[in-house]
């Protein structure tokens, strides 16, 4: 079935564009980059059609990567229903975003570099999804982290961009550390990292071991998928180009954590403490990020916090045992969040770079296609009845209620806040009077609009076209829950309330937001400054680590001990030489004295030796 072609086509695109892209014309770069991803998508379709129903996983083994006594890791790829969904999302939405980027990046420098990095990202993401053991998954995991760093810092001449790239990579590293520890523990416990073997041995393992593994994996997922406490890199990652935000930080990379957690479901089922931790962190993150999102003025930051919040929903789904619901939301979120980002990119492109919503307004007449596609996405994310977002979010909330009712209520409030901030952004951007300086906001070219339209259709109808929970029923046990229309109504009502509130505050009576802000000055400042979390981290963690590192490790160990040892050898030789130099007095008589003295010593030594032996 040649599964390896799926990731390798984008890798080929990366190689060609990376090595020769500088000399290619834009057309050739486009053809190589976009062509490789589209071909990959076509191959995915072909493979899935050929595989048919996929009741069992289909795997291919390529070569043995590590062989050490009883421990071996192979380069294996496998496809089951979960993988199939991920493959379609990654390659499908990836293709759309690549097409979009042709238009968005048309006037930017480093054109071929951008597409090369995007292709590299696709390669790693596909390796991550296709892997059938934890180590190969980790290869993809690290690789997407690297590409995220490269793409966030794409405008490398801007310090805030490179800082953001550093931050993303470093915070991810903390998560990766947890992942690595989990893998070590897994090898110790199960002796292998292969999915099939680990999951079949999991039920027999002691719960404490599984809990530790689960919590460590959660740490890794929290880093990659921007959950509390490691979410701080995602808002800063908006420094990268908007297609990057759409692809990596909305649809694919950040969902890797959810995917990995869902894949490890067999471990988590037998470690309830860890699963509870997932749910709690998920709901807490969802609520927390939503509150911050309500006060942001940069359009991309709003959606960034929204991503963090929606990822929290996905984790909540996995944590309460409704893995299919979590993956379902992953899919619908990919549709509407990618659309929201691409749409905001279209707005930014129309305004020649303006991102502050306070400088926007009244754009719906000028960029209608962008406006109404974003409207579809906003409806979906708000859980407006009968959009795909509604279906997936409801599935999660119902499962949460089944697990612990308080989670349902917090989730519903968060849904209301989600609707509020998304429509706040929508109204601020497209309604009212134009507050900006750009005189001719122009609609984006067709190459950017077509993906928007496709995604809009998917946002509205995708939930019906792809009924994930039933599809994944072979992998994840479905929770038996009655369809509780009351709860569904309350959740939808919360969403509608949010939309209404946004309309009132930003369209009907535009003076209200400022009034609220000034009356709740303290709370507003707190929320606007993201609860000063970054500052707290900086003071509590970053500064002590850097300072301690500088003092202890750099000055103390590196310069002091290691350099000291090396230099000390030199200094020691110098001082010994200095002492011995005094012997070189140039005075022949002292030399003769020394010779005689040495001769006496030798004679004594010989005599002693002889006396000993005799």
């Amino acid at each position: 079935m040649q599964l390896w072609l799926i990731p390798l086509l984008p890798l080929a695109g990366f190689t060609v564009n990376g090595l020769f892209g500088r000399r290619f014309s834009k057309g050739v770069v486009n053809a190589v980059a976009v062509g490789s991803v589209v071909l990959s998508f076509a191959w995915v379709l072909k493979t899935l059609i050929a595989l048919g129903v996929l009741n069992t996983a289909y795997s291919e083994h390529y070569f043995t990567w590590i062989q050490s006594d009883a421990f071996s890791v192979g380069c294996d790829m496998s496809v089951d229903r979960l993988t199939a969904i991920m493959l379609l999302i990654v390659t499908g939405i990836g293709s759309l975003i690549h097409i979009y980027s042709i238009g968005y990046m048309a006037h930017e420098g480093g054109y071929y570099r951008f597409f090369a990095y995007m292709n590299l990202f696709m390669f790693f993401m596909l390796v991550l999804v296709l892997a059938s053991n934890y180590l190969l998954l980790f290869v993809g995991w690290e690789g997407v982290g690297l590409c995220s760093y490269l793409l966030i810092g794409f405008y490398f001449d801007k310090k805030f961009a490179t800082d953001a790239g550093n931050k993303a990579f470093i915070v991810n590293r903390i998560g990766d550390f947890g992942f690595s520890l989990a893998m070590f523990y897994m090898v110790r416990q199960f002796g292998t990292l292969d999915f099939g073997t680990v999951f079949s041995k999991a039920p027999a393992a002691p719960e404490s071991a599984l809990t530790i593994i689960g919590l460590l994996l959660l740490l890794g997922a929290a880093g990659k998928s921007a959950q509390i406490p490691l979410y701080v890199w995602l808002p800063d990652a908006m420094a990268g180009p908007t297609p990057v935000s759409a692809l990596i930080h909305a649809a694919t990379m950040v969902t890797a954590g959810v995917y990995m957690t869902a894949r490890s479901f067999a471990i988590y089922t037998h470690a309830p403490v860890a699963m509870e931790a997932i749910a709690v962190i998920g709901i807490a993150t969802a609520f927390f990020a939503a509150t911050i999102g309500m006060a942001q003025n940069d359009i991309k930051k709003v959606f960034a916090y929204s991503t963090v919040s929606q990822l929290g929903y996905m984790f909540l789904g996995v944590g309460v045992g409704a893995c299919s619901a979590g993956i379902y939301h992953l899919m619908t979120h990919a549709f509407f969040k990618a659309l929201l980002f691409l749409g905001s990119g279209s707005v930014i492109h129309a305004l020649s770079g303006e991102q502050d919503m306070r400088q926007m307004g009244g754009l719906r007449g000028k960029i209608p296609w962008t406006c109404w596609t974003m409207f579809c996405a906003s409806l979906a994310i708000s859980g407006f009845p009968f959009t795909s977002g509604f279906l997936s979010k409801d599935a999660i909330l119902l499962a949460a209620n089944h697990h612990a009712p308080w989670m349902y209520w917090v989730g519903t409030i968060t849904a209301g806040m989600t609707a509020f901030y998304v429509f706040r952004a929508f109204f601020m951007t497209f309604f009212g009077d134009y507050r900006g300086r750009e005189h001719h906001p122009h609609e984006s070219p067709r190459v950017m609009l077509v993906p928007l339209v496709i995604l809009a259709v998917l946002s509205l109808a995708g939930g019906y076209l792809f009924k994930i929970p039933e599809f994944l029923g072979t992998i994840f046990p479905t929770l038996e829950m009655p369809e509780d229309f009351g709860l569904m109504a309350i959740a939808s009502g919360a969403g509608l309330l949010g939309i209404l509130l946004a309309y009132v505050m930003y369209v009907a009576r535009p003076g209200i937001p400022d009034a609220i802000a000034s009356s709740l000055r303290g709370l507003y400042t707190l929320v606007y400054n993201k609860y000063f979390v970054d500052e707290i981290y900086d003071a509590a963690v970053v500064k002590p680590v850097v300072g301690g590192s500088r003092l202890l490790l750099w000055k103390g160990m590196d310069a002091g001990i290691i350099d000291g040892m090396v230099n000390g050898v030199g200094a020691r030789a110098k001082s010994i030489g200095g002492a011995l130099r005094l012997l070189q007095s140039g005075n022949a008589r002292s030399y003769a004295t020394w010779v005689a003295f040495g001769g006496v010593l030798v004679i004594v030594a010989l005599g002693v030796a002889e006396g000993v032996t005799r």
Binding site: R581, Q584, S585, G586, N587, A588, R589, A592, T593, A596
Partner: protein, 102 residues
């Protein structure tokens, strides 16, 4: 007693040798130091001959022969060097010929 114990010869040789070393260490004139070297060589010659007598072999004499040859050659070259040094430095005081200091 009509025979001289050979150990007396050896003791004499040791005394002469030590006197030679003393001359070398304590004298400042180069020529005198050179003569002390010759004194040392002579002392060693004496002990070689003594051992040759003791072992009733002629090889000791051969050693002395070669020592003498080498001492002669050394004296020739060494005195030539002293001449050159005197030409350059105008002094025969060893303590003043210390350009190898430090």
């Amino acid at each position: 007693m009509t025979q001289v114990p050979a150990s007396w010869f050896l003791t004499l040789s040791a005394v002469l040798f030590v006197l030679g070393v003393a001359g070398f260490i304590f004298r400042r004139s180069i020529i005198t130091m050179f003569m002390s070297i010759e004194l040392m060589l002579n002392a060693v010659n004496l002990s070689f001959v003594t051992f040759s007598y003791q072992l009733k072999q002629v090889d000791g004499h051969l050693f002395v022969f070669f020592v003498m040859v080498v001492a002669a050659a050394e004296a020739a070259v060494g005195l030539a060097i002293i001449l050159t040094v005197f030409k350059n430095r105008a002094t025969l005081n060893i303590d003043e010929i210390n350009s190898m200091k430090n």
